[in-house]
Symmetry: C2
């Protein structure tokens, strides 16, 4: 299977596949005489795994780490669970920060409901005054 087919079957751009290879995430495939990359089913699974990790918003470094655990299947999976726990708390703190931000934005927006001249706009005034509740 060539790169285009792999790309289509996993739903990834060919550039991204070459990028993952350069990053050491996807093992270098064989080559045809003309230099074209040749992939196997292993590559399909591997790439799909990477993509599912990315959907979970794991970083490439974290995916690397998971790969290392997979390569040593007899060790304890404590580290895998710890990685996920860390990631979950990371996501949670992102949510908290964004919720605080949303509150700030909504309260700022409430300062100008009508169609004023810019110089009288409560929104711009609000930012300029800087009396936003700092997070």
């Amino acid at each position: 299977m060539r790169i285009g087919q792999l790309a289509q079957s996993v739903g990834v751009d060919t550039q991204t596949i070459r990028f993952y290879e350069r990053q050491g995430l996807l093992p270098p495939p064989g080559r045809q005489e003309n230099g074209y990359r040749v992939y196997t089913e292993k590559h399909v699974e591997r790439l799909a795994f990477i993509r599912r990790c990315r959907i979970l918003d794991l970083s490439l470094a974290e995916i690397h780490e998971l790969k290392r655990y997979q390569d040593d299947p007899h060790q304890s999976c404590t580290a895998v669970n710890a990685l996920l726990d860390d990631h979950i708390s990371h996501v949670r703190s992102q949510i908290t920060a964004l919720q605080a931000l949303e509150k700030q934005l909504v309260s700022l927006r409430a300062r100008c409901n009508d169609d004023r001249e810019v110089k009288a706009c409560g929104v711009l005034a609000g930012i300029s005054e800087g009396n936003m509740h700092q997070q």
Copy 2:
């Protein structure tokens, strides 16, 4: 006032100030004979405005846009409000996405509570199987 003082009074790195100048966000200040930048109170206000916008997570492009509105103070502020509304819905969709992600991660994490061998780890299995609820 020189760049270090401006940086300190607003709480920004000097590098960032030069960066904003190159981006056209902060007007080029005057120069001393030795080439040092000289800033005024206007610059302090301007930089503080930019920083408050950044705290609200507005992009530099959006800050540019706000600047253009400020420079024409007699036009209607509809566009200002629209910019903020867009930004609020952007933040809200980020929150929604992250909440869905958190749910996915938590349910994945629940697949392995104990200390197993990596090859039996429900978390890795869960990612590999790919039966996560795609958002």
